[in-house]
Every structure is written in structure tokens, then in C-alpha cells.
């Protein structure tokens, strides 16, 4: 007798095997899940990781009185931290817009005029350095500036922040692509239709499919953590077991969202749009590449709703000790609740055809 809503271990095993082989025999998919976060960690880790400071780029307008020699002087007095070039008046604005220079200087050492984009992070530094250099050109003493201690201890660097974001993105991809997109692909190929006319139960199918993907999705985050530790010395300060639990929970939540997205969408074109709608706020507001606490008040409700925020916060909490145990537990509970809700909805909405 077939149990429509019961789970037959034989069926679950067979489907899990199919799902694993299907993934492992697709080298592109394996590359994207493993290669992408590691390359990203390397590039971003090295780009923002070392204590090196980029010089500030300053453009001196050529028509200014004594344009070229003024530029020479500025360069001399800039102490190696100013990269000075001469620009045509007609090109000055464009150089600024394109970010080739952080600051445009007109006039001379006595009456300088700056042009800059205050919203750009480098422009304040460029202004400070240029003012220092101008004071030096005029023979005035340099203004007193406090000594600077560079933050490059493990645990406080950008790479330490980034690792949790990369793990979050990886789990998100596994859920949305691995479950959501693939499900729609299977529907589009009429493969789900074919399975629907067999005694395969909806529960048997969805659970074994999702479970096999969740297990697979647990591996890349572990690789990322190991890689970040080996290459950058990124620490795991809290409990490793708690970290594992968070990976599982994050995977569960995103798989639930993926399942919901793919539960009855008919074509891969439609689901691609839907996936972007789901993923974009997570990428931008989820605390992946940069902290999201300073986003405008208006956005904070969304920031606090996207599961990615809770996941990256909790992972950082465990890895870097930046969150109390209570905070981690709350984040875990929120993730679990969102995941469960998505699963129940998806199970109700799911269609074979």
C-alpha cells in the first residue's frame, strides 16, 4: 500500500542520490558555490586587508597661475601621500566625476579653491592632505594632528567582517538557485509532471529534495571559514558547534525561501525576476559587504526584516564575539521562524504542473 503522506525511506534515499549526483556532475555549479566565495575573499581581503593607505589623487588645473610649478610644489610638500597631476580646465569636472581625482585645486597657494564631492569617502582625506601640503608650501607650520593607530588585529579587519557576508551569500545562492530555480527548471522540462503521475508523495519529494540540498549547502561555509582562517587568520572565537548550527539554520531559511519562490512559478524567465526581487535587498541591506546599522532610519525596518541581516549578525556574533549569547539566540529564533513559515507556505502552494 502506498502512503501518500508517509515517507518511504527507500524513495527518500533514491531522490537524495539523484539530487546529489545531479549537483556533483555539474562542474559549473560546483565552481560557483566553492570558487566564487573564495576568490571574493581573496580579492576583497587583500584589497582592504593590509594597512597600506592609498594616496589621495589631486588634480591641479593647468590654467591656474604658474599651474605646472604649483603642481610640482604641492607634490614635493605632499610627503608621498598626495598624487598630484595637472588637468585641463575643460577636463577637470570630468576627472572628478569619473573618480580619477578626489579633489580639484584651482588658484594658488595663497588663494586656493577646492572642488570636491562631499559624498565620496576619499574627498575629506584628500582635502586634509592638500591643506597640509598647502600650509607647508606657504611655510606655515603643519597643523597638529593626532597620532593614528592602524586597526589590523585579527577580528577587527574588513576581512573578518566580510567572511560572515560571504557565507550568507553562499547559503542564499544555494537556497534560491539550488532549490528555487531548479524546481522551476524541473517544472519547465515537464519532469515534475512525470513524477506527479507516479505514487511519489509531495512530502516525500519536497523533503528529500530540500534535505539533500541543505546537507550539500553546509559544506561551502565550512570551507570558507577554513580558508579565511588559513589565509587571513580570521578567528572563530565562539563555539564551533553554534556556528555549525547557524549554517544549518541559515541554509534551512534560505532553502525555505527558495522553495517558496519556485513553488508554482511556471517559467525560468519569470522565476529569474522573482529571484532578483528576493536577493537584491539581501545583498544590499543584509550586512553582507558593509555594516547596515547606519542605513537611514527609513530603511531600518527592511534591514531588520531581511533574514540575511539576522544571519550575518549571528555568524559575526559567534565568530568575532560581537554579540551576546542572548542576541544570537534571538537571531536564530527569527531565522527559524521565517524558514518554517516559508516551508509551510511553499508546501501548500506547491504545484507539479
Amino acid at each position: 500500500m502506498t502512503r501518500r503522506f508517509g515517507m518511504r525511506p527507500r524513495v527518500m534515499r533514491a531522490l537524495t542520490g539523484v539530487a546529489w549526483r545531479e549537483y556533483l556532475r555539474t562542474p559549473e555549479a560546483v565552481f560557483w558555490t566553492y570558487g566564487f566565495p573564495l576568490v571574493m575573499a581573496l580579492v576583497l581581503g587583500f584589497a582592504f586587508g593590509e594597512g597600506r593607505q592609498e594616496p589621495a589623487h589631486v588634480g591641479v588645473v593647468a590654467t591656474a597661475p604658474a599651474g605646472t610649478s604649483f603642481a610640482e610644489k604641492l607634490r614635493e610638500h605632499g610627503g608621498g601621500r598626495l598624487h598630484v597631476e595637472v588637468v585641463e580646465e575643460s577636463r577637470a569636472r570630468r576627472a572628478l566625476t569619473l573618480g580619477r581625482v578626489d579633489l580639484v585645486v584651482r588658484g594658488d597657494a595663497e588663494h586656493p579653491a577646492f572642488e570636491l564631492d562631499p559624498a565620496r569617502p576619499g574627498s575629506e582625506l584628500a582635502r586634509l592632505l592638500t591643506e597640509d601640503a598647502l600650509a607647508s608650501v606657504r611655510g606655515e607650520p603643519r597643523p597638529v594632528r593626532a597620532t593614528i593607530e592602524a586597526v589590523d588585529e585579527p577580528g577587527d579587519r574588513y576581512i573578518d567582517f566580510l567572511v560572515a557576508g560571504l557565507i550568507g551569500l553562499n547559503l542564499l545562492g544555494a537556497g534560491i538557485y539550488g532549490i528555487g530555480y531548479n524546481l522551476v527548471l524541473m517544472r519547465e522540462k515537464h519532469l515534475l509532471r512525470r513524477l506527479a503521475v507516479t505514487p511519489l508523495g509531495r512530502g516525500e519529494f519536497l523533503l528529500s529534495y530540500v534535505a539533500s540540498r541543505i546537507v550539500l549547502a553546509m559544506i561551502p561555509p565550512l570551507v570558507i571559514v577554513a580558508f579565511a582562517w588559513a589565509v587571513f587568520g580570521v578567528p572563530v572565537r565562539g563555539s564551533f558547534l553554534a556556528l555549525l548550527g547557524l549554517f544549518l539554520l541559515g541554509s534551512f531559511t534560505f532553502c525555505g525561501i527558495g522553495l517558496l519562490v519556485g513553488s508554482r512559478t511556471q517559467s525560468t524567465e519569470t522565476v529569474s525576476g522573482l529571484m532578483n526581487v528576493v536577493m537584491l535587498p539581501m545583498w544590499l541591506l543584509g550586512g553582507v559587504f558593509f555594516g547596515n546599522e547606519r542605513f537611514p532610519e527609513l530603511l531600518q525596518p527592511i534591514v531588520r526584516t531581511v533574514p540575511m541581516t539576522w544571519l550575518t549578525d549571528a555568524i559575526r556574533g559567534v565568530m568575532l564575539g560581537s554579540l551576546e549569547t542572548g542576541g544570537i539566540a534571538i537571531a536564530a529564533a527569527v531565522l527559524g521562524a521565517i524558514g518554517l513559515l516559508c516551508f509551510c507556505l511553499a508546501f501548500k502552494l506547491f504545484r507539479w504542473t
Binding site: A14, E22, H190, R193, V197
Partner: protein, 324 residues
């Protein structure tokens, strides 16, 4: 003995019954009030032009689509109450399916085998459709015909009582087609199974099906054994006469005056007659051709085939539609 064999045995029962089946989409009526009865143990063929509603009908019977109106009983059960039971007793190939691309033939069959509580083994299935050589090949690397055979093997995995095959031999070479016919015949004769299939090949329907139904515009317009349908035209032979300028020489009255002619069609070079008795009609035609002093270039006669019935019936429908 298997308990099912008793139920499915050739007791003259009805394996499938559709009454007043209707399937309406927003702007099309795919099935427009179709009645159908398939007897236990027979091979039934659904024929009809593209878009006639064959796939829609068959998918309603498989429980994949809900009809807008009408009832379906399959193996004495219906989809609202006995879906689980039914799914374990039917085998299906869909008109268009792609399975898991990266799995091998054997792995795919093993999956289908696992889905049924009483199933054939993967090896047995491989042997039935003669795919042993390809057992280790991935689905994505199979030829179209090999995929079709695999689909039929998968349909047989659960020892079904009723097999639904939607265009199972489309795209197959003549050899593979005949070997698939054998698979289907063995299922019917040795396992006592019932088959409902669709096809666009009239020779296939003639060779394989005990009875056929011709569907057009969502309705059943003819039903019977291929032989019955052919004789229903009231003629059994086609005579073709080739001669230049033959259409000018014979007007309608002249053609109808020929003995035993049921239907006629004429082009500048060829006169096609459907006749009851060729031994009466042919000499008369030849005399007429000689009388008009035309130069005869060819003459052939053949038995009427199902294809002629099909064209006759569905062609007429098309004209009816245009006349409106």
C-alpha cells in the same frame, strides 16, 4: 498469483470511461464534450490532427489536469477519491518530458523502480526496451529515440494495469518503432494490460491498435477497429490513373457515371477514384480513357488505408469550418 491480474484480466470490463469531457482554457476549448470507453485488455489509439485535444484528453485521464466538465473513471476508480491507488496502477509517457540530465539510464530507472511498492527491476526494464548497452550513459547524451525507449521503460516500472502513451514512437526509426510495438503488444498479451496511445502514424494504429478513435476539435468523430473504419467509407480500394490532361477529359458527371465509384478527385495528371469493386471500375475507366484518346502513363490500385479515412474525416471537418 498477483491480486491485480484478477482485476485487470480480460473480463470484458472497462478500463477507462470518459463521459461528456470538457476542457476549456481562456480562449480555446481543447476538449469539447468527449465520450470514450476503453475496454480492459485492448490497445486503443487516439488519432487526430495537431491541436485536436488528444494530449489534453489523455492528461485528464492521467489525473494531471482537472476537466472543466464531465467525468472520468479509470480502472473503476476516480481521481478525487483514489488518486494514490490509481497512480500506482497506471504507467505514463508524456508527449514531452526531459528527465534528470546528469543521471545514467540505470540510475533513472532505479529512481522509478523505487517509487513503486511493487516494481520490476531496473535490469528487467533495460532488457524490455533493449537499452542494456546504454545502461551507463547519461540521459543528456542519449539520442531522441533512446530517450523515448527509456520513457516507455520508466512507464512500465510499476507493473501498471493501464498504460498511457502520448506519441511514444514519434521520431523513432522504423526498426525502433517496430521493436516498441512488440513491447506494447507483449504488455497487452502477456501481462493482460490495457493501452491508450496517441499517434500520428496511421500504419502504426493499423498494426497495433485493436480500436481507434479519431478526435477533431475536441470531439470524437469516429470510433471502431481500423478495419471497421476503413470499410465504413463504403469502398475498399483506391484507383489512381495517370494521364496528361485527364481533368479536362472527365467532368463530374462523367466520373459519377463510372460504375462503383464512391469518391473522386482529379488533377491535370492524376485521377484518383475510391471504388467498391476494382474489377468492375478499372475496365470501365480504361475504356473511357481510350475513348478520349488520352495517352495512359500509369495505373495503380491499392487497398484503402486508415490514412484515407483520417483525411476524409478530418479534411471534411476543415472544410465545414471554413464554410461557416
Amino acid at each position: 498469483m498477483n491480486e491485480r491480474a484478477g482485476i485487470a484480466g480480460r473480463g470484458g470490463g472497462v478500463a477507462l470511461r470518459c463521459v461528456g469531457l470538457v476542457k476549456r482554457y481562456e480562449d480555446v476549448v481543447a476538449v469539447a464534450g468527449l465520450d470514450l470507453e476503453v475496454r480492459t485488455g485492448e490497445c486503443f489509439g487516439l488519432l487526430g490532427p495537431n491541436g485536436a485535444g488528444k494530449t489534453t484528453t489523455i492528461e485528464i485521464c492521467e489525473g494531471l489536469l482537472a476537466p472543466t466538465d464531465g467525468t472520468v473513471r479509470v480502472l473503476d476508480m476516480d481521481w478525487t477519491h483514489d488518486a494514490t491507488q490509481l497512480r500506482s496502477r497506471i504507467g505514463v509517457t508524456l508527449q514531452e518530458t526531459r528527465l534528470f540530465a546528469k543521471q545514467t539510464v540505470r540510475e533513472l530507472l532505479a529512481l522509478f523502480v523505487a517509487l513503486y511498492d511493487d516494481a520490476r527491476s531496473a535490469d528487467e526494464l533495460l532488457a524490455i526496451v533493449a537499452l542494456e548497452e546504454k545502461a551507463g550513459a547519461r540521459y543528456q547524451h542519449l539520442s531522441g529515440g533512446q530517450k523515448q525507449r527509456l520513457a516507455v521503460a520508466a512507464a512500465l516500472a510499476g507493473r501498471p494495469d493501464l498504460l498511457f502513451l502520448d506519441e511514444p514512437t514519434t521520431g523513432l526509426d522504423p526498426q525502433s518503432r517496430r521493436s516498441l510495438w512488440d513491447v506494447i503488444r507483449r504488455f497487452r498479451d502477456d501481462d493482460g494490460g490495457t493501452v491508450v496511445l496517441t499517434t500520428h502514424y496511421m500504419d502504426e494504429a493499423e498494426a497495433l491498435c485493436d480500436r481507434v478513435g479519431i478526435v477533431d476539435h475536441g470531439k470524437l468523430i469516429a470510433l471502431g477497429s481500423p478495419r471497421e473504419l476503413v470499410s465504413s467509407l463504403g469502398a475498399a480500394h483506391v484507383v489512381e490513373v495517370d494521364a496528361d490532361g485527364i481533368d479536362a477529359a472527365f467532368d463530374t458527371a462523367a466520373l459519377e457515371a463510372l460504375p462503383g465509384v464512391v469518391e473522386h478527385a482529379c488533377t491535370t495528371e492524376r485521377l484518383t477514384l475510391t471504388v467498391r469493386q476494382p474489377h468492375v471500375a478499372v475496365p470501365a475507366v480504361l475504356r473511357a480513357v481510350e475513348a478520349k484518346s488520352l495517352r495512359l502513363r500509369g495505373l495503380s490500385t491499392r487497398h484503402l488505408a486508415l490514412e484515407d479515412v483520417f483525411v476524409h474525416l478530418t479534411g471534411r471537418h476543415l472544410r465545414d469550418g471554413e464554410a461557416e
